[in-house]
């Protein structure tokens, strides 16, 4: 048992554990299990999975959890081909995908897609129409949005991203093509760090990813909070899913069960998402 020295490392999570007395038993869903659990796909999920991986390795070192990104497309592809145990997606998998790969989706959280700019940008609010014009390439100066006379730097995601799919679906619709001249970043985390470094930036990312380094815009007067996303006031919302191929085996099943426990839900909330249970 190597519990003692490792436990000291996670003071943040430890505090979380202490604050909720019933939690001692929650991690026990992994008791007696061993082996590897490979998770890939959606990048909004990564912080949640990493947290759980740390908790699990602390209480049960015989379990090895690997985490990697790539986007929701990768999640569907990898779990569908059987290359990973769980494929995470930032959207509901389509009926066609379910039929082809016998996927079993597990909806665990709700997440709004926020539009964010550099903290120094004076713009506070943007309407859906303005947003459409910006991301279709019609508007290309901040002046048109009430900002400084400076070019707009668009950051977007590649086709594997569910964040992009949801954003483009809700904002641009089917008939408007996204502007070609958009710098592509590979994950929600990358979108955040790119926007934080560029004064002219605008980009979209999961609300769970927001922090002080970037400034989220309210859309049509509705502040980008998960409460507004839940109530439906904020217009761009999606679910976060973990998908297995068929019924989950013992280890993935324990992982999904753990998400539903108080401790699991606390982790989900801690990363800015609303648990869907």
């Amino acid at each position: 048992m190597h519990r003692k020295p490792v436990a000291a490392a996670f003071s943040g999570l430890l505090a979380l554990t202490i604050s909720l007395p019933v939690l001692a038993a929650d991690i026990d869903v992994f008791k007696g299990l061993s082996g590897k659990l490979d998770i890939a796909g959606g990048t909004a999920h990564i912080p949640v999975v990493q947290d759980i991986a740390r908790q699990v390795s602390k209480s049960n070192p015989a379990i090895r959890i690997s985490v990697t990104g790539g986007g929701s497309g990768v999640g569907v592809q990898k779990v569908g081909e059987g290359l990973v145990d769980i494929g995470s997606t930032g959207r509901k998998v389509s009926a066609e995908e379910i039929a082809r790969y016998q996927l079993k989706p597990f909806h665990f959280a709700l997440d709004g897609v926020a539009v964010a700019v550099h903290p120094s940008n004076p713009v506070k609010d943007i309407s859906l129409e303005q947003l459409r014009d910006v991301f279709s390439g019609k508007t290309s100066n901040w002046k048109a949005l009430g900002g400084a006379d400076a070019p707009i730097h668009r950051y977007g995601r590649d086709e594997a991203s569910a964040t992009r799919e949801v954003f483009v679906g809700k904002v641009l619709g089917k008939d408007t093509a996204p502007a070609a001249k958009t710098t592509l970043v590979s994950s929600n985390g990358a979108a955040k760090s790119a926007i934080a470094r560029d004064k002219g930036a605008i980009g979209y990312l999961g609300m769970g990813m927001l922090d002080q380094s970037i400034k989220p815009l309210s859309v049509g007067g509705h502040a980008p909070t998960q409460q507004n996303a839940l109530s439906g006031d904020y217009p761009i919302v999606r679910g976060l899913y973990f998908n297995t191929k068929g019924e989950p085996a013992a280890l993935p099943a324990a992982f999904l069960r753990y998400l539903k426990t108080n401790e699991g839900q606390a982790i989900i909330r801690n990363h800015g998402y609303i648990p869907a249970f």
Binding site: G70, G71, G73, V74, V76, Q77, E81, R100, P151, H153, D158, E159, A160, A177, A180, K181, T182, T183, L184, S186, R197, D198, K199, G200
Partner: protein, 284 residues
């Protein structure tokens, strides 16, 4: 007995090494079958519009992006590499030349990912914030990074290719009263035109094959840049990005075509280089 054994083992290993290329080629051709069978898709491949949702899988922008990036990087790396090679050969004083060779070896050993990383944190913000050149992630940023990365390699390649001739002619040059720079510029370089060209071809292969710098620095927009401050996407980066697509989709099939395009370029470079060295062998 052991005679036969060694020969067989060696032939077997040689066979594996040689067959790898055929195996890769065959695999790509076979996997891309749905593409070659469908004339409409083939036409779409040659176009410049990439929108897999609408069945458009044009690779022309990416192919052009690859050529633009490689050509501009070489435009920087080749002259710089040549000058540095000349300087290690004899333009610099002897102890300095030895130090330069060490420097070039060190620079050529820096991992590509380190060049790209430094570029993301140093060059891109500088282009964007200090010079105000667009978003920073651009053709220009990628070309500068790739050019700088290739320069030491080009220099070592050229100094290796030129040094035998230079050493051979040095005594004659001295006797004629030529300075080292005169000997290099007016005798060695014209005599080694083919070596110069084959070094160019070889490094163009490396420039075209680079994935990391393009992926991390070029911005990856599917877009033919109108000027160097705009982003572009190369074939290699396109493969890395599109890998996330559904393996059965047309978009995924398009990356087999992209891979074959890259292989075709590598093969072209190889055969041009080979024919150059053949001719020079005949001449001598």
């Amino acid at each position: 007995m052991s005679e036969r054994l060694l020969a067989t083992a060696a032939a077997f290993a040689g066979g594996i090494a040689a067959c790898a290329v055929f195996a890769i080629l065959a695999l790509l051709l076979w996997l891309g079958l749905p593409l070659w069978r469908d004339p409409a898709l083939l036409i779409s491949l040659a176009g410049s519009s990439w929108n897999p949702a609408a069945g458009e899988i044009g690779l022309a922008s990416m192919a052009a992006g690859t050529l633009l990036l490689a050509a501009s990087a070489l435009l920087l790396a080749y002259p710089c590499g040549l000058l540095l090679a000349l300087s290690t050969l004899g333009l610099a004083p002897r102890p300095l030349a030895a130090a330069m060779r060490t420097l070039l070896a060190l620079l050529s050993g820096i991992p590509t990912v380190v060049y790209a990383f430094v570029s993301v944190w140093l060059l891109v913000p500088w282009l964007r914030d200090s010079l105000g050149l667009g978003m920073g992630y651009s053709w220009l940023a990628a070309a500068l990074t790739l050019g700088v990365m290739l320069t030491p390699t080009v220099a070592l390649l050229l100094s290796g290719a030129l040094s035998p001739t230079f050493t051979r002619l040095q005594a004659a040059g001295d006797a004629l009263g030529l300075s080292r720079v005169q000997l290099l510029l007016w005798v060695v370089l014209p005599a080694e035109r083919r070596a110069l060209l084959s070094a160019l071809l070889l490094s163009s292969g490396r420039a075209v094959g680079d994935t990391l710098i393009a992926l991390m620095v070029s911005g990856n927009a599917i877009w033919l840049p109108a000027n160097p401050t705009e982003p572009l996407r190369t074939l290699t980066a396109h493969i890395a990005i599109t890998l996330a697509a559904d393996t059965q989709s047309q978009a995924y099939a398009a990356i087999y075509a992209a891979s074959l395009l890259l292989l075709a370029y590598v093969a072209l470079v190889h055969f041009l280089t080979a024919s150059l060295s053949d001719e020079s062998a005949h001449r001598h």
